[in-house]
């Protein structure tokens, strides 16, 4: 039996800055909470293709699982958690810029 599709976001690294970004309905954001949550598989595939075509903006787009239980998307895996937040040894990366992580 095929596995049920779980909610996802499109994520990538920003070409110029190299940092982690997420796709929104209209563009990109640096904040996972603002990402567009994709709940339909065919839709997710299309959004990923759209992202992958934006070669002068993003690098390495892929679909990442999110947990939507609290109303805003949250990482389900610790790797995505670090990507959303930044490294644990310094307050560098996203945690430097975002007050809400």
């Amino acid at each position: 039996m095929p596995k049920a599709f779980t909610p996802k976001v499109v994520t990538a690294n920003h070409l110029l800055k190299g940092d982690v970004i997420y796709q929104t309905a209209t563009g990109w954001t640096r904040d996972l909470a603002e990402a567009e949550v994709l709940t339909d598989e065919a839709d997710a595939d299309l959004r990923l293709i759209d992202a992958a075509q934006q070669v002068s903006l993003v690098v390495g787009a892929y679909l990442a699982d999110v947990d939507t239980a609290g109303g805003v998307p949250k990482p389900t895996h610790f790797r995505e958690d670090f990507r959303a937040r930044g490294p644990s040894n310094y307050a560098h990366g996203k945690q430097e810029d975002l007050s809400n992580v």
């Binding site: 690294n13 070409l15 110029l16 800055k17 190299g18 940092d19 982690v20 070669v55 002068s56 690098v59 390495g60 389900t76 895996h77 610790f78 790797r79 670090f82 990507r83 930044g86 490294p87 644990s88 040894n89 310094y90 560098h92 990366g93 996203k94």
Partner: protein, 554 residues
């Protein structure tokens, strides 16, 4: 130190200009990422978890104060005010932006540094004993040979697309501080019947399939070095597997074909190409050697040192762990620990880099080295200068007295930075160091090397750690596997897996149980952890690590 020729300077300048235009074309969209990636990797530029990462070569770990100052300037101007020194005598900048990389490379070129061949399937930065040119046990300084290999391998047209990356390490001492047996090629300088030469070791490597290198030639005369290396790498280039990335390293080539078959092919190729090396390489080497002439060592009394050693216990403790015998009377080799308890192993702030540069100029004949254990060395310091030097290190929080002890941990960047990681390494290193500092046991425990990697690539050398820790992802949770009894010295050994892994919460107590077991089981305080392990084997440590298994069996 080696000084760039006009040729070298022009080469780097042109190469940087080339890369600048490639970056511009990537930004304006004329190059895709697939086209750009191999080009950026050829210039040491990775894209990691949170940012780009620039890996800069510090050939054979040698640099001077001006170069260290420049690294500090780069960290301030284009990064976040620090740099990360690695096990391969590189420095990594973790936060640059793509647009700034060409300027960073130009800044490096001002002090004869670059990032060429710090990535990609090519001959990487040649590493060497970090006490080169200073150690009391040294037969010959390995750096001129390492520099010769660098010149030969840099942009070598035949070796830019090898099956996989290729690492060469050289040591000039019988006590191997360059981990030569865990490299694709390890060279150990020897003298036999008054003739200088090398023992050539091939096919060592860590990563997914760790292997200790095998002796390819027990004695290779010095004049034959480059043709012989060329023969090895070209045989590997032909024979190495390109069908499977995980089987592509020369260790697998040697393993699958057998060392005898591999040797026969190398010798055949060597005989063919030897005549092409008409001696220019030896002339070059002679010129390089002149650049590595030893500094003018002073003769001064060492009374100040002895007084401080007797009267100041803090100084004494530091001197006992962080100094190594120098070959010149009255001198010492100083290891500066980048492993302050709770700090990130291998990181130095720009302010600390500048202090180290100043200390090298003031007391160390303007020489610095980076060790594969992620520390910084001042190779030539007169003992009478040590008290003053120590005071300045203290001020800069660089006086941690823990070289070779349990908190002197090698840790790869792990999942805090690295895109390939499966778990974090840095917090584990920080917690182990803090825990044993709290217990005040570190000096009682004595020499003990803990090495941590955040994935099976083994950048943190965990296989050759006395205690090795490998971070894995077990069903979406960080899990840490322990190996014991590894050794990166001339007696190189791959550690044995102790058993099932531990969660992030369990790993520090697990390490503590191993260490407590050692303290109980050692013959005498002089018996090191590794000696105890070799005497009694894995079983008693396993019992300490998994007490519940013992209880079940009882």
């Amino acid at each position: 130190m080696y000084k760039y020729t006009d040729f070298d300077a022009a080469f780097i300048k042109e190469r940087n200009a080339q890369f600048r235009s490639q970056v511009e074309r990537r930004i304006d969209g004329s190059l895709t990422e697939d086209e750009f990636k191999p080009l950026r990797l050829m210039n040491g530029l990775y894209l990691q978890l949170h940012a780009y990462m620039l890996r800069v070569a510090i050939p054979y770990g040698t640099l001077n104060g001006r170069q260290m100052d420049k690294l500090a300037d780069i960290a301030d101007r284009w990064d976040k005010g620090y740099g990360h020194f690695t096990t391969r005598q590189n420095i990594q900048f973790n936060w640059p932006e793509l647009r700034d990389i060409p300027d960073m490379l130009d800044a490096l070129a001002e002090v004869q540094m670059h990032a060429i061949q710090t990535s990609g399937n090519t001959i990487r930065n040649v590493t060497a004993d970090h006490f080169a040119g200073a150690a009391a046990d040294e037969i010959a300084d390995p750096r001129p040979v390492a520099e010769l290999i660098r010149q030969w391998s840099t942009d070598h047209p035949e070796f830019q697309f090898l099956p996989r990356k290729f690492k060469v390490a050289v040591t000039g001492s019988p006590n191997d501080r360059a981990v030569t047996k865990a490299h694709d090629i390890g060279l150990r300088m020897l003298e036999r019947d008054g003739v200088a030469g090398f023992e050539v070791i091939v096919g060592g490597g860590l990563g997914r399939t760790p292997m200790i290198g095998k002796v390819l030639r027990d004695f290779l005369p010095r004049e034959d070095l480059l043709p012989y290396l060329e023969a090895i790498v070209s045989v590997y280039n032909l024979l190495g597997r390109r069908d499977n990335k995980y089987k592509a390293r020369i260790k697998i080539t040697v393993h699958e074909n057998g060392i005898d078959d591999f040797r026969a092919r190398v010798e055949e190729r060597f005989a063919l190409i030897r005549p092409q090396f008409g001696g220019i390489d030896q002339q070059l080497l002679a010129g390089i050697e002149a650049d590595f002439a030893a500094p003018d060592f002073k003769t001064k009394p060492v009374a100040d040192f002895e007084a401080a050693y007797t009267n100041d216990p803090v100084f004494r403790s530091w001197a006992d762990t962080n100094l190594t015998d120098h070959r010149a009377p009255g001198y010492a080799i100083v290891s500066i620990s980048l492993k302050a308890h709770a700090a990130t192993p291998g990181d130095a702030t720009s302010a600390q880099m500048r202090v180290m540069a100043d200390l090298a100029r003031d007391y160390g004949h303007d020489e610095l080295r980076i060790s594969h254990e992620q520390n910084v060395i001042l190779p030539h310091v007169h003992k009478s200068d040590l008290p003053a030097l120590h005071a300045r290190l203290k001020e800069a929080q660089l006086a941690t007295a823990n070289i070779g002890l349990i908190s002197d941990i090698i840790a790869c960047p792990g999942m805090d930075y690295c895109a390939l990681a499966t778990a974090r390494s840095i917090p584990i290193a920080q917690e182990i160091a803090t825990r044993f500092d709290d217990l005040k046991l570190e000096h009682d425990i004595g020499p003990l090397k803990i090495k941590i990697s955040g994935c099976i690539n083994a950048c943190g050398h965990h296989h050759v750690g006395h205690i090795g820790i490998l971070g894995l992802d077990r069903a979406g949770v960080e899990n840490y596997q322990i190996t014991l009894g590894g050794d990166g010295s001339e007696d190189a050994t791959i550690g044995e897996r102790a058993g099932p892994g531990f969660s992030a919460d369990e790993i520090i107590p697990a390490v503590e149980r191993i260490v407590m077991a050692y303290l109980e089981l050692r013959d005498a305080p002089e018996e090191t952890f590794l000696e105890t392990y070799r005497r009694i084997g894995l079983a008693p440590f396993k019992a300490a690590l998994y007490p519940e298994v013992q209880a079940d069996a009882a």
